[in-house]
């Protein structure tokens, strides 16, 4: 079976600074991979590349069997195959929960029909299933700006699931949530992905949570892959090296 993601020697510069340096990565179908690293490590940039939204990069990239070309946006069809969960949820506040989730179906629809809000039975069924799977069925008619942060994150996940993607990308999906909610949200994303047999690549700067939910962890520092290991084999040394590698002594700083 061919790889879900195959990256070879990817580099990207942002404002003269190397955001990605010679990154090579392969992700197998159904695998759950975490991109771990500090802020500015290149995690979001890498996810943008995989989502076909990054400009001016070098190297070879293939996602779900299709080659990405620098400067050429993926087709509508290709975009529907990759779901993206945004860090700040990226919901349309004045729309209902239901319509926000339906927005995930737009890539599947005939354009003129969708403009009048006339959606097919298949679209309604996909939205209903996504709402049920994310525990949002009772909130479907509520406006999105009238629900809590955790519920908004669930709407963003439901929108992604309604899209019926073959790969889910998530940019720090729990960085805005408290630990209890963060755990629930990661369980939801990874649980739904496993149920549907699709892969997930999400970024995080929380090592413990990442280890609990990932099959594999890729450590990124200053745009380079520092390590790429099964989640169970990640040690404290990996984490120290990732976050404090440039600190004199290489260890954790103790604050008294």
């Amino acid at each position: 079976m061919s790889a879900t993601v195959a990256l070879s020697n990817i580099s990207h510069q942002f404002d003269g600074i190397a955001a990605l340096q010679d990154v090579s990565l392969t992700v197998k179908p159904g695998e759950i991979v975490v991109l771990l690293g500090a802020s500015g490590a290149g995690k979001s940039t890498l996810l943008s590349l995989l989502d076909g939204r990054l400009d001016e990069w070098q190297g070879q990239a293939e996602v779900l069997g299709s080659k990405l070309s620098e400067g050429t946006a993926p087709t509508r069809q290709k975009r529907t195959e990759v779901g993206f969960i945004f860090q700040e949820f990226a919901l349309v506040d004045r729309l209902s929960v239901y319509q926000n989730v339906m927005n995930g179906r737009l890539g599947h629809m005939r354009v003129w029909q969708s403009l009048w809000g006339r959606f097919d039975e298949r679209d309604h069924m996909a939205v209903s299933a996504a709402l049920r799977d994310t525990g949002l069925a009772d909130l479907a008619r509520r406006r999105t700006d009238q629900i809590s942060g955790g519920q908004r994150q669930r709407v963003a996940i439901a929108r992604c699931l309604a899209q019926e993607p073959k790969l889910i990308l998530a940019d720090e999906p729990v960085s805005n949530l408290d630990p209890a909610h963060a755990e629930k949200i990661l369980a939801l994303i990874t649980g739904q992905a496993r149920k549907r047999g699709i892969g997930v690549i999400f970024s995080s700067h929380q090592p413990e949570l990442s280890q609990r939910f990932a099959d594999r962890i890729v450590g990124l520092r200053q745009g380079e892959i520092l390590f790429d290991s099964p989640a169970g084999q990640i040690t404290q040394d990996h984490i120290k090296q990732l976050y404090y590698g440039d600190t004199p002594g290489g260890g954790l700083r103790v604050v008294s």
Binding site: R79, F84, F86, A90, V92, L106, G107, L115
Partner: protein, 247 residues
């Protein structure tokens, strides 16, 4: 600018106005009596002219409605051209400059020009309101487009929505309340401004005010004034409710 400079500038401006305005405060003592006499002649209002007043108000209302409608249509296109997010500076800058010039021309002057161009009646009024309101509405609409949050638009693009779908389901829902609120606000302004257009022959109730005051029929002018007050209060009430609904 330091506080001292601001206060000194303000004091200079006030002193200059007081000393050079030729206010003639000596005229004030007799003003009360003259005003009372004037108001006395307005009472009781002559309600027998209500059919004419209603016609005048209806024409004013039509000018405001059609002027607003046409300015909304024109502004929708111009707003796209004036949007910093959608257009390069070579386009939005000159368009915004033209809109600023339009806003700077007083409505009554535009109305006089239109009367000269197309003759008396409601048409010059509608054209004047359309022209004047477009200067403001196109700017407001452009700002509404530019203030739309980009993340939901990017999210829909990522999900496979094309440009038209993104406009419908990510951009329009965000800007709709602003656009509707600004349009309602502009309609209220158009209605108020249309009330005086008749003075220069551009249609509406203004013609009646001018006619009755110039012919010393103050009791009839009072009826027109009362009708205008009722209309403005009603429009404020309705527009206030609409703005609340769209917020």
């Amino acid at each position: 600018m330091s506080r001292i400079v601001i206060w000194v500038s303000l004091a200079v401006a006030i002193l200059w106005s007081l000393t050079t305005a030729d206010i003639g405060l000596g005229k004030l003592p007799g003003a009360g009596v003259r005003l009372a006499d004037f108001l006395g002649r307005m009472l009781p209002p002559d309600l027998s002219i209500w059919p004419e007043v209603l016609n005048g108000l209806a024409e004013t209302l039509r000018i405001a409605i059609l002027g607003t409608l046409f300015s909304v249509i024109l502004s929708s296109g111009l707003a796209v051209l004036a949007s910093e997010n959608l257009m390069p500076p070579a386009i939005w800058r000159p368009v915004r400059a033209v809109l600023a010039v339009i806003r700077a021309i007083p409505l009554i002057l535009v109305a006089m020009l239109m009367v000269g161009a197309v003759g008396l009646g409601p048409l010059p009024g509608i054209l004047a309101v359309t022209f004047h309101a477009t200067g403001m509405l196109a700017k407001f609409y452009a700002e509404a487009i530019d203030n739309v949050a980009s993340a939901p638009v990017a999210a829909l693009e990522s999900a496979g929505a094309n440009t038209v779908q993104r406009l419908r389901w990510a951009i329009w829902p965000q800007m709709a309340p602003v656009v509707l609120r600004d349009t309602v606000f502009r309609f209220e302004l158009n209605l108020r401004e249309s009330l005086i257009l008749g003075i220069v022959g551009a249609g509406g109730i203004g013609l009646y005010i001018q006619t009755y005051v110039r012919s010393f029929q103050y009791e009839k002018a009072a009826t027109v004034t009362l009708a205008i007050i009722v209309l403005v209060l009603l429009s404020e009430l309705i527009n206030g409710a609409l703005r609340k609904r769209f917020s």
